[in-house]
């Protein structure tokens, strides 16, 4: 069977008043295997978010292809989104809905079987410890609670692929840890997860394989152990710097 996520020569060019033509993502290739956490590690502006937005069909690629569970992002965007949970710092929740309504709404519009929605909502409320806040409006919740609701709504329809785009940005240590734990749990349940971050320790701890992305290019893509092997460096930070510098020299 094909890998759940296949990216081939994916490219995105922006035109910006100040910078002119910007190749935000420049012909990248990667695959994600079932049940792994695939890390996209890169500095700000490296092309992580653009890549993930193309995978979630919010942006249209300039060139190249990407398929999720066999669905092409250009020709079958709805098929892609049905199998996908997308989470990022910019995907906000509706402040005027309650926790329960939020999860229910996202399960239904993602076409989770209607007769099982209620059960699923109850399950998620319990799983994330939201019982006490189930009927409170989102605007009344603390940021940690909102985080949990956000993850719950991302997996409301039980998708097989999950994308987490810098999920811990702006969170305190404890909340960030909660998120990382949730992602690990989801991986253990067999989900395919793409996780982007610029925090080395998170990538080290969580990712089965890591792609180092810089200037729109993927400079390396392997398991942490293999990366250590090939670079003879122990810390991911050193490995990252090594590749980025080598990449710059190449340019």
């Amino acid at each position: 069977m094909n890998a759940p996520v296949v990216v081939r020569n994916l490219k995105k060019v922006f035109y910006d008043e100040g910078r002119g033509e910007v190749k935000a993502v420049d012909s990248i290739n990667f695959e994600c295997r079932e049940g792994e956490v695939f890390g996209l590690l890169g500095a700000n502006g490296a092309g992580k978010t653009t890549t993930l937005r193309m995978l979630s069909t919010i942006l249209t690629p300039t060139a190249g292809t990407a398929t999720l569970m066999g669905n092409d992002v250009v020709s079958n965007p709805q098929g892609v989104r049905k199998n996908l949970g997308f989470y990022s710092a910019t995907t906000a929740l509706y402040p005027r809905l309650t926790t329960r309504e939020t999860i229910d709404f996202f399960a239904r519009i993602n076409q989770y079987p209607a007769d099982q929605v209620e059960q699923r909502v109850e399950y998620l409320i319990q799983r994330f410890g939201l019982t006490k806040y189930a009927d409170a409006r989102i605007e009344k919740l603390s940021s940690g609670m909102k985080q949990k609701v956000s993850i719950a709504r991302t997996i409301a329809h039980n998708p097989s692929i999950l994308i987490f785009d810098e999920p811990t940005v702006g969170l305190d240590v404890l909340n960030a840890l909660d998120v990382v734990d949730s992602i690990r749990e989801l991986r253990d349940e067999g989900k395919t997860i793409i996780f982007s971050t610029h925090i080395m320790s998170e990538a080290e701890r969580l990712c089965d394989r890591i792609a180092i992305i810089h200037g729109g290019h993927i400079l390396a893509c392997d398991t942490l152990a293999a990366l250590r092997e090939s670079t003879q460096q122990h810390y991911l930070e050193d490995i990252f710097v090594l590749f980025v510098k080598a990449g710059q020299e190449m340019v």
Partner: protein
């Protein structure tokens, strides 16, 4: 379209809206509360003003040699009024005034010691006063206020007042009426004194009779304003919802969340559109009920003969038109809100769009506009005129059908446009351009070409037909052909850095094509005439249409060579470069050849002013487009266009339909088809 998802999204949108307490208060509760307050304030102030003005005792004085006579006449007139019970003079009867003895009338008026004074001037003195000059530059209002011409030697009674003081103005109006009554009474009594037989008032009696029922009069009055009223209500009501529904969602970041779910963008747009339409309709309905309530409570006073007769059929027909109207307005609002980056920006765009949309709904106020005209094709304006005709009780079923179709198409088009707006990436990624926009050049030209034509069309119609300086035949042609059409062509070539030879198709063709064109010119005329005859048998053309068509636009008395320059050569060059050069190149990548022919032909037809010429010109345009596509060159079309127009100038009636037999038509059509076939055989492939 997945209906269950649509339902889900719609309920979601409505829930969001209703939970936004501020939105509900500002959009629904406040207007409902403010309205009676405003009405009450207005009613209170106007009735108070009336009371003050009637309660005032006006001080005045009479000066000049005729003071005694005028004083007596006024006195008599007032006594006469007190005996008259007719309602007409009610206000005058309540007019209380007292004459003051004053040394300097002018000064007293300036000091507000008196409200006005009557200056009497003998005929001899009055003749010395220079006549009043109309100081206002122009306009019917100023002219109407000029006093009728005074004959020499006639005394002058001048009421002097202050137009800037309410009481003085009111007093002036009343004393003028009183003076006119006094003058009439005086002339009548003088007539009687000189032996007029009978009562001078009874020469003849004047009355009036309206054939319209009260219901029709009311319908005409209400019908004029109902569309404007509804458009205003729907716009203001829907705006609150639309801003929250997209701009607000963008600002909160929930739009990106929604866009990553499995729902399609068309469903998102449809749900939002439906939500805005519902809110707009509910608010409109509430305001309507509000009005009915105030009418019941007599906070709004209706005219005496007000009698609104709305049959079920009429109401249903109106509803049929108002639903697509609401959907159109909702789409416009949705587009504003999708285009704006934030809540604030969408508020900024709202107002100009709102005012602009009110202009077409004023169409019903134009006198003599009937739905059976081009207005049926103008969205909003057509509903406005249709509503008036329905309310008067003279609905035109066919044209109401056209209006409905136009409105549904408009709503559908705008909905599609707003759906497309939601797929634009700058909704999510701020400040970036589409490739074509950024790179400019030919790629952008293809996106913009239709906008240029829309702009040119507006210029040709709005400017050229209304500007006085362009009224003459020659000037209008020069402006349209050289300035607008040729000018825009050159401007587009320059702005988009286009290759003129490519875009304008300036290419040589084979000799056989020229031969075919030579035959095409006369046989084209014959074919058109033949088709017209056949069509005329099936659907007879209205007499008016034939008349308009034969009304020539050609001025008399111009030398033939000049006519040929203006009518044949100039349009052939400019229009072919523009339509078969620029437009064809701009659209050829977007449309298939058949669609290309139809679209270019229709746009060409639309540029030919008279409504009755659109269809035949469009047909000619299609033939010219076919030739341009087949030959890959603009030149054969130019020659055919010039030849065709020249035939119109020279021939006049060289083709007399009465003298033509079936054989003539058949031969003409055969040669026409054969010539086209020759061109087809010598075609060059369409280059994309």
């Amino acid at each position: 379209m997945n209906w269950s998802v649509l339902r889900l999204l719609f309920i979601h949108e409505m829930k969001m809206l209703l939970r936004a307490r501020r939105t509900v208060v500002t959009a629904i509760v406040l207007p409902a509360l403010i309205m009676p307050l405003m009405l009450y304030a207005q009613k209170y102030s106007s009735s108070r003003r009336e009371r003050v003005l009637t309660g005032t005792t006006y001080r005045y004085t009479i000066t000049g040699p005729l003071a005694d006579r005028i004083r007596n006449l006024i006195q008599q007139a007032r006594e006469g009024l007190n005996n008259d019970t007719s309602e007409e003079f009610e206000q005058l009867r309540q007019f209380k005034f007292v004459e003051m003895t004053i040394a300097n009338a002018r000064q007293s008026l300036d000091n507000d010691a008196i409200h006005f004074y009557i200056e009497t001037i003998s005929g001899v003195e009055a003749d010395k006063i220079p006549p009043k000059v109309d100081t206002a530059p122009r306009g019917p209002v100023a002219r109407r206020n000029l006093p009728p011409k005074r004959l020499a030697g006639v005394p002058l009674i001048n009421v002097v007042y202050r137009g800037d003081r309410d009481a003085s103005s009111a007093a002036r109006g009343r004393i003028l009426s009183l003076l006119r009554i006094a003058r009439r009474n005086d002339s009548e009594s003088q007539l009687v004194a000189r032996g007029f037989p009978g009562d001078p008032k009874q020469l003849f009696s004047v009355e009036d009779t309206s054939l319209a029922t009260h219901g029709q009069v009311t319908g005409s009055a209400v019908g004029r304003f109902i569309t404007l009223f509804l458009v205003m209500m729907m716009f203001t009501g829907g705006a609150v919802a639309s801003m929250d529904i997209i701009s607000g969602e963008k600002e909160r970041g929930t739009l990106e969340t929604l866009l990553t779910t499995a729902v399609g963008r068309s469903e998102i747009v449809a749900a939002k559109q439906l939500a805005i339409t519902s809110v707009a309709l509910v608010i409109t309905l509430m305001q309507g009920l509000n009005f009915l309530l105030y009418i019941r409570l007599r906070m709004i006073e209706l005219p005496q003969d007000f009698d609104l007769q709305l049959s079920t059929g009429m109401a249903l027909t109106l509803l049929l038109l108002f639903v697509p109207l609401a959907a159109t307005i909702a789409s416009v609002l949705l587009m504003i809100s999708a285009y704006a980056k934030s809540y604030k920006e969408s508020q900024m765009y709202f107002f100009p769009v709102y005012l602009l949309s009110m202009i077409p709904s004023l169409a019903s106020l134009m006198p003599g506009v009937s739905l059976r005209s081009a207005i049926a094709f103008v969205p909003l304006a057509n509903v406005s005129v249709a509503a008036r005709e329905i309310m008067i009780g003279r609905p035109d079923a066919v044209m109401i059908g056209v209006t409905f179709a136009v409105m549904v198409l408009t709503a559908a088009y705008l909905m599609r446009a707003s759906a497309r707006m939601l797929t634009r990436e700058d909704l999510v990624v701020p400040a970036h351009f589409e490739a074509a926009e950024f790179l400019g050049g030919p790629a952008l030209f293809q996106k913009r070409v239709l906008r240029w034509f829309a702009l040119m069309w507006v210029i040709v119609f709005a400017v050229a037909t209304n500007v006085q300086a362009l009224a003459s035949f020659q000037r209008q042609l020069i402006f349209n052909e050289l300035v607008v059409m040729l000018g825009s062509s050159l401007l587009m070539l320059w702005i988009y850095r286009l290759n003129p030879i490519e875009v304008l198709s300036l290419k040589p063709v084979k000799p056989a094509v020229w031969l075919a064109i030579l035959f095409l010119i006369p046989t084209g005329h014959l074919t058109a005439l033949g088709i017209f005859q056949i069509v005329n048998v099936v659907i007879p053309a209205p007499q008016e249409m034939l008349q308009r068509f034969s009304e020539d636009v050609i001025p008399r008395g111009m030398p033939t060579w000049q006519l040929l320059m203006y009518i044949a050569v100039l349009p052939a060059i400019c229009e072919e470069l523009l339509f078969r050069g620029i437009l064809l190149s701009g659209l050829k990548r977007r449309l298939r050849p058949a669609a290309l022919v139809v679209v270019v032909g229709i746009i060409f037809g639309l540029f030919h002013v008279s409504l009755y010429r659109i269809a035949p010109t469009a047909a000619l345009g299609m033939v010219l487009t076919v030739i341009a596509i087949m030959t890959g060159s603009v030149f054969p079309g130019m020659v055919m266009h010039a030849g065709n127009n020249a035939l119109g100038v020279l021939g006049g009636d060289w083709l007399n339909p009465d003298a033509l037999q079936f054989g003539h038509y058949a031969a003409g059509m055969a040669i026409f088809a054969l010539s086209l076939w020759v061109i087809y055989r010598n075609r060059t492939p369409l280059q994309k």
